[in-house]
Symmetry: C2
Subunit: 462 residues, 2 copies
């Protein structure tokens, strides 16, 4: 559908050339990193202030037109696809660091700023923002999907990293949540409600983030194991020991092979853990020594240390490129990315049953993950032209999610619901899912904010 003429006129008057209805712009905002596709937005807008976002929301509400937020386009579940058309709000131009308060270890940023750009801006402060989902995602998008990644085992997720928000609600009202104080008991935790809401309750226009001191010393290593069970059991023991790992990542042999081919590395072709330690020089040495002892107990076949900054950068770049490396390992393939998270005690069972299930399917499905959190992914590689493979992969993904639920876990550790996990929400939440729907209707009675996502959907015809 086309947008109402009066809405287009008003948006053009407000935004000038920062309103686009070109086929190219609309197509660009109908893409995602996932295998999912959906309709296109009818227009794309590029606001440069909260006031503009508020006016856009007010105008769209007048005309009953949906609004979808767009950050860096790196989400993996099709969160930002405009399944009901409408206006996509691209935060490209709202990418400033508004303020940094080193003495309180806080900063306030606009939602279009990416995490790498933020850390670049912070480089001389001695502070950094640790949440690291791999992709150079926008911070607004990371908040909206409650992202985490390699460092969550030490520094927490976006749930922990966001102290306050400015949000434009459906209809255009602007609210602020949270304060700059480290904690508060003053009513409902609206910050936590908007973090992970995937744009269904409002558009985040400002974020106050908790920063951390850059570690005085850092060291990292890869270490190989004879089999997956040994590697996973090593992780479980490490976490249960309370060792403050900064990162502890698992790669299965297929992932290692893909990474070696893509990044020119030469990790031994066996299950690998990639670990990192942060602290004082003595603290890092002690942690590394204690981890080494645990790894030896589980038959670690060798450590490769990356003590120099450039070696560590190479190691983590390889890890961050793993998704692309795995995609490249099957030319022409697209991926069904899975994202389960289980209690740490169930990790070995979850990984082993997943491995066996993938092996039986005949699809390539390398496994990797932030195993210190009990979170892992299988990247199921499919030929997009082969509907049978797509169906097989989706069935595998559903079984993984159901297996995670059976073990007390969750259908998504960090990627969010988007389009891919919506059919599994009731299985995870039961009657609580309807409560999410009640909250959605209370804050967005016209169902204009990223409609078609996260909450129970109206039945067709009702």
């Amino acid at each position: 559908m086309a947008l109402p003429g009066p809405l287009l006129t008003d948006l053009a008057a407000l935004l000038g050339p920062r309103l686009s209805t070109t086929a190219a712009d609309r197509a660009l905002h109908a893409q995602s990193e996932s295998y999912m596709t959906a309709g296109q937005p009818d227009a794309v807008v590029y606001p440069n202030s909260t006031a503009e976002v508020a006016q856009i929301a007010a105008l769209c509400a007048q005309h009953g037109v949906p609004l979808v937020a767009w950050g860096a386009g790196t989400s993996l579940e099709g969160h930002a696809l405009a399944v009901k058309g409408g206006v996509t709000v691209d935060f490209r131009d709202m990418n400033r660091v508004i303020s940094v308060h080193p003495e309180d270890m806080l900063c306030t940023v606009q939602p279009g700023l990416t995490r790498l750009a933020l850390n670049h801006a912070l480089r001389d402060t001695g502070l950094f923002f640790p949440v690291d989902p791999g992709a150079d995602a926008s911070l607004g998008g990371m908040a909206s999907t409650r992202a985490s990644g390699t460092t969550a085992v030490r520094y927490g997720t976006m749930r922990d990293g966001v102290l306050g928000l400015e949000v434009v609600l459906a209809g255009g009202e602007v609210i602020r949540t949270g304060t700059a104080a480290p904690k508060s008991s003053a009513g409902y935790d609206l910050t936590a409600l908007f973090v992970g809401a995937e744009g269904t309750l409002g558009l985040i226009t400002e974020l106050t983030l908790r920063l951390h001191g850059q570690p005085e010393a850092t060291s990292a290593a890869s270490c190989g194991f004879a089999d997956m069970a040994a590697a996973v059991d090593c992780v479980i023991t490490t976490i249960q020991t309370g060792l403050p790992m900064a990162r502890i990542e698992f790669l299965d042999p297929a992932t290692v092979a893909a990474c070696n081919a893509f990044s020119g590395t030469d990790l031994p072709l066996c299950p690998q853990l990639l670990v990192e330690f942060h602290g004082s020089p003595e603290g890092v040495a002690e942690q590394a020594q204690r981890f080494g002892a645990i790894a030896a107990d589980f038959g670690c076949t060798g450590f490769l240390w990356a003590k120099a900054t450039e070696d560590r950068s190479r190691l983590w770049k390889m890890r961050h490129d793993a998704y692309r490396a795995i995609l490249a390992s099957r030319p022409g393939a697209t991926a069904v990315v899975t994202d389960v998270c289980v209690p740490i005690s169930a990790l070995a069972q979850a990984v082993e049953e997943t491995r066996a299930d993938i092996a039986q399917s005949g699809l390539p499905g390398p496994i990797l993950g932030h195993v210190g959190d009990g979170n892992f992914h299988a990247i199921l590689l499919i030929d997009p032209a082969n509907p049978q493979e797509t169906a097989t992969a989706k069935a595998l993904a559903t079984r993984m999610a159901e297996r995670a639920l059976g073990l007390g876990g969750t259908i998504t550790g960090e990627h969010g619901v988007g389009m891919g996990k919506l059919p599994l929400m009731e299985a995870e939440h039961g009657a609580a899912w309807a409560v999410m729907g009640q909250i959605k209707r209370a804050l967005d009675p016209q169902n204009l904010m990223n409609p078609g996502k996260l909450v129970p959907q109206p039945k067709v015809g009702s």
Copy 2:
């Protein structure tokens, strides 16, 4: 008002002697630790299962009768006072540890269990639940007020400590929030919404809590300073340095005097910091050494170390008894307890301006607090028979809260809203307060769950 006869009949059939309408029981549940008073509940019920709570909620909804949750009665803002009458649900008999999962560092408990009873039950597991508000509060109440206390600087607040909940909603439906996985991105964070909701959205009937390893080594000390500014500046520097303090508490000289008199201790009569370090023996020694160096920079006038367990117990018992000690320092007095929290960089200004304001008022108002979080309390001692003193104290408390807001902080760091902070909610949240009201109406359209609290109240006559 009396409850409808059919409701009483049905509650009696369900609960037998665990329904009480005696004057003594009703009066007992109209008391609080605060200076506030309100009406009495019309009945008190003592359920012993979630199913009973659900039936109670369903029956009350049928008759439009309010429900107020009651834990240990230790809240400081009158949260559990039945300002609209109705039924008080006392969780005294729902006080079991349901399960402990040491391998996942989790436990599931009923809401009437107190924190000390939980830690007693955990004593042989090597684990503990760290959130410590001082009073032996119930865990359901601690969750509902988003409590924290002396250890939040290291282990976080109830926001961090609660991983999942079972909640009975208005009308009696039972939902579960969260999973046993360490993190999740599966939709709205309902756990965070119910934590801090003060019973206005539902009745918590089960909590899954994150446990921590008992520290291998612990050491604690008190250290005196020449003036308050030096002590507070020492805290600010310590936190900014990133030292992982387990506790860092401030007592002003009036608090020290009251504690010495009440607990038989002999701390020097100067501003004191009480600190605790957790970790490996080497780690604790290193932390203590680093903190000692910072304290020396700020002119610390002497350390008293409490290395033996019984010495530490005595130190923290003295701290936990500080409220009672301060009350006892003015016989017959009651207290207006304040609870502001500010960004750490604003702590010195907030404390000093508060001290000057109290001095000018002529009221006794010892200051103490969890200053590592920027959180402090003035205990304003008033003669309850003297309305002028009450008015002076309330005006002081309001100015403290407004000062905290002006410095980027919050009106309540850990005590919650209850009756005392309700008039200040709009000043803190602005338009976001109305969003809390929208959520409340969506989940509790009859306004039966702890009515009169937390959200904007209907205007009289509307």
